[in-house]
Amino acid sequence: MSAPILKVSGVSKRFGGFTALDGIDLELGANERLGLIGPNGSGKTTLINCISGALINDTGSIVFEGEDITRLPPHQRAARGVARSFQIPKPFRSMTVLENLRVPLEYAARGRTGRGKINSDAMEVLELIGLNNRANESSAGLTQVDMRKLELARALAAKPKLLVSDEAMAGLSSAEVDEILEILLALNARGVAVIMIEHIMRAVMGFAQRLVVLDAGRKIADGTPEDIIRNPDVERAYLGE
């Protein structure tokens, strides 16, 4: 593994008496594809909320490209290259598809976008995602799969170095899952590290180079997909004793 782009050390997060994350350590290499799995309520979304800044962890640190970002608000993390997509799509409903991408291009990626290149950069992302023929449609009227694509497109328009994809494929058909997988692989080929949270095992297994398994707020396994499926702890977490 090359020098890590992201280093999560000893991150814990409590909600009242409930410990959602308990001393998580995680490293991610530049351009790595990591799958984050675990049963419902294991803390996956809490962890990526801490990475993207939606939540601030109680203890531990998060270092991105050698810089401690633990206390930074989400918009400053986005400006440094941490992007995420949401499990439930959150489009800017009053805007067209193209305008949705203008927001991250004009804010998160401002320092990385040439003057007057906003529309062409947005169209480039839409072409990669396959939404270019919907560019001027209202984002509120999109189909479910297109909404998911827009969610990814908006994350990409922030020109991230790390993309955190939170269940981008839940509820999609098999062909649609393949479409989204292809997009994520194309993105990774351009040098973006990806953390993928997913329940569809076929998708994670096919995508991830490495898997991290969470259970009840703790990391119980970290390794190649082949190792993970043979790991007795993981089996116990998913299937019980």
């Binding site: 939606a54 995420r84 805007m95 927001v103 804010y107 998160a108």
Partner: protein
């Protein structure tokens, strides 16, 4: 400034309206018209101001009357203390109310939805209590303002105020339009649509919301500054009038909140109707009319008049 054809048309219309206003003072002597138009202009500035926070940013504010009243009382206090000329009073009111917007924003913007709305209402009550006990500006008794008998260029002080107010209104509209189509405007729209997603797209939501409350406050202050000189008597009850606050909400809602022209249309339609009804039927009935129109629009056309026109144009294109 004049980059596109729409820009050219916009500025030409503004110039024409202003010149039309000047011509009116040459042609018409009857003071009633200026009084009526002044009221509509004041409502327009307030509707435009409310819409910057309420429409562009999506934070509903019930405290408009407080900003307006503090603008008016800032002008009263500085007029009594230093006797500054009107342009300075307006600038001072803008500054005071802008700062107040910033402060209130900082304290309340952590609240969302209905909680924010209630906080702004509470702020208005606190400030009203403060002014009601502020002896220097007449406390609960109110205060009389003396205005000059004669003014240069115009027939009366009311005419002068009318022209000043016209210029301020056009200025507010220009600011609102520029904001609406700017990078900041898109950031505000992103906050309105989904604040969490906006933050993750790199939008500094707290800073933009504070810009929004500051501009809103300053504009409300500007609307209030000339008011004491226009009515020549202010007391807390008339300055902190709930009806003023309701109008500032109703007009953008009826006009349409997403586009800069919505509050302008709403203010012209509602303000015009109110003046007409006040003269022809009764001054009490105009409150009822605003209420009825608000109910009708919220249930039947939540996007306002602008939304209706956009829908109609889309249908025609097909």
């Amino acid at each position: 400034m004049l980059k596109t054809r729409a820009d050219k048309i916009f500025w030409a219309v503004l110039a024409a309206v202003f010149l039309g206003g000047l011509a009116l003072t040459e042609l018409v002597a009857n003071e009633y018209y200026y009084t009526a138009i002044y009221a509509i202009l004041q409502a327009t500035i307030m509707a435009v101001a409310w819409n910057i926070l309420g429409g562009f940013t999506g934070y509903v504010n019930f405290g408009s009357a407080a900003f307006f009243a503090i603008g008016a009382y800032t002008a009263v206090a500085l007029d009594k203390w230093l006797g500054l000329p009107l342009p300075f009073l307006i600038a001072a009111s803008a500054a005071v109310c802008g700062l107040m917007g910033l402060g209130v924003g900082y304290l309340t913007l952590r609240l969302k939805g209905v909680y924010f709305a209630i906080a702004t209402l509470a702020m208005a009550i606190v400030l009203e209590t403060f002014v009601t006990n502020w002896e220097y500006v007449g406390a609960a008794r109110g205060v009389y303002i003396l205005t000059p008998e004669k003014v240069p260029f115009f027939r009366s002080y009311i005419q002068l105020l009318f022209v000043v107010m016209l210029a301020l209104t056009l200025g507010s509209i220009a600011i609102s339009r520029a904001l609406n189509s700017s990078r900041i405007g898109r950031g505000l729209a992103a906050i309105r649509d989904d604040e969490v997603a906006a933050e993750c797209a790199g939008v500094p939501t707290l800073r933009l919301k504070l810009i929004s409350t500051t501009v809103m406050g300053a504009m409300m202050g500007v609307a209030g500054a000339p008011y004491p000189f226009f009515v020549t008597f202010v007391d807390p009850l008339s300055a902190f009038n709930l009806f003023v606050a309701v109008n500032a909400i109703a007009m953008p809602m009826i006009g349409g909140t997403a586009h800069w022209i919505g509050p302008v249309i709403g203010a012209l339609v509602i303000g015009g109707a109110q003046e007409a009804i006040t003269v022809t039927i009764s001054s009490e009935l105009n409150v009822l009319v605003v209420g009825l129109m608000l109910v009708l629009f919220i249930t039947l056309a939540p996007q306002g008049i602008v939304g209706l026109v956009q829908k109609w144009m889309k249908r025609r294109k097909r």
